[in-house]
Symmetry: C2
Subunit: 254 residues, 2 copies
């Protein structure tokens, strides 16, 4: 079982992709939010992790960008390549259920403040529904939002969705397609690709980067803590990203 995670950047080539798919749409969401005159606000937790302030309006925009436009265009593309895709948000059949955050500790100026929004962490997967679809030849194409314990839609990181999926499906390999050749020693230099990383190095690598990449590396670390044996961070912009990844291009983490 291979899970393919597609980043939310603009330039991901979604052709040539197979199996369970989890995708983002952050670039699309941000543009849509801008166009609608309600640009996203970013929170930075006291621990240094950034996240989008997810109020009800931002959730609306997410439903449009992730579960709507991006998800359905990926499903359409899959069908055009003979893949019988079914697009689902985490809400559908409660396929990904989570716990809403009690609040995120942020500094406002020098003042510590707790901000609560519609965001949280995925906890469980409706594995029987996923299995039902897989057993009948469908390829689930999953994205956020997910559903919380009160049946409200919440935002979460797709990387965390991949983690709970990996556990539920016992996937041995996760392919993480991003808008770069892989993990870069210097994020501004595409020639600084690191080809191999040991799982034991992940915590150190995480400290080396910030923003979304920091969160991504944390998610990869958690994948190994929960039983993954191989994660490939690879370029989603090539013609055949999955084939390339399986051929060992990108950053192979073992």
């Amino acid at each position: 079982m291979i899970i393919v995670k597609i980043g939310g950047g603009d330039k991901i080539n979604i052709k040539g992709i197979i199996e369970v798919i989890v995708h983002g749409a952050n670039a699309l969401r941000d543009k849509l939010a801008e166009d609608l005159g309600q640009p996203k606000q970013v929170l930075t937790s006291v621990k240094g992790y950034t996240s989008v302030y997810s109020d009800e309006k931002l959730l609306d925009v997410m439903m449009m960008a992730y579960a709507g436009l991006r998800n359905k265009r990926i499903v359409e593309l899959c069908h055009q390549h003979g893949i019988n895709a079914v697009g689902l948000s985490g809400l559908d059949g409660k396929i990904v259920q989570g716990r809403r955050n009690k609040g995120i500790r942020v500094y406002q100026g020098k003042k510590l403040k707790i901000v609560r929004d519609f965001s949280g962490k995925p906890q469980t997967v409706n594995a029987p529904l996923l299995q039902l679809l897989l057993d009948n030849g469908y390829v689930p194409v999953l994205t956020v939002p997910i559903i919380d314990e009160q049946n409200a839609a919440i935002n979460t990181e797709n990387d965390d969705v991949v983690r709970v999926l990996q556990q539920a499906l016992q996937a041995d390999m996760v392919i993480n397609l991003i808008g770069a050749p892989g993990f870069l020693e210097n994020k501004d230099d595409e020639n600084s690709l690191i080809e191999n990383i040991f799982a034991s190095e992940l915590e150190a690598r995480e400290q080396q980067v910030d923003g979304r990449m920091k969160r991504k590396m944390l998610a990869v670390r958690k994948l190994f803590e929960h039983g993954a044996s191989k994660v490939i961070i690879s370029d989603g912009r090539t013609k055949h990203p999955v084939t390339d990844a399986l051929a060992g291009k990108g950053t192979v983490i073992t």
Copy 2:
């Protein structure tokens, strides 16, 4: 088996609804298109039926409004009422497949012109997938777009989706929730409700109205041609629209 169709108006109360659901989102789509600076264009065919000019951008907006925001908020609401909903567009698992229109004959000034867009008519339903979901306790919540014979996303009338669903599922009753008390003798007078219509009168009633309602009545007529025994056009704005409809409120067509 009862199919519930929810109109796309702003004021539909989506609480208290059960079973297979098909929903619109035209008010939301129109507002979104306006907000994004690309207001919809309406085509009027030579036969007098109106339809939205569905180019690729309009399809994008539809995916956001129908399959994204509206679909996922309905799914969320269903879960909050104990209904295990799975939201799907017609693209997902090719659950509703259709044929793209060859072109719509319109007058531009006095000149007859054929305009081709991404719109069409639904032809087939993936009944096994619907049945798989129903048999496992899920309530499918369906909306446009659907998929055409070339695996492209196309716009279609949700009323036509209801028709092919009714045939595929052999539903005996269709409840059509709209933003009015039912079929009105005078569309501007909510007190002019017609409580009972015989199927044989439908063609005449269709001539009495225009715009969306004309198309809706055509769709109802086709439901009877394909085996429906009862259609209720009822008010979606009440507290318990389905209960009300089943109690005979609205326009009962037999």
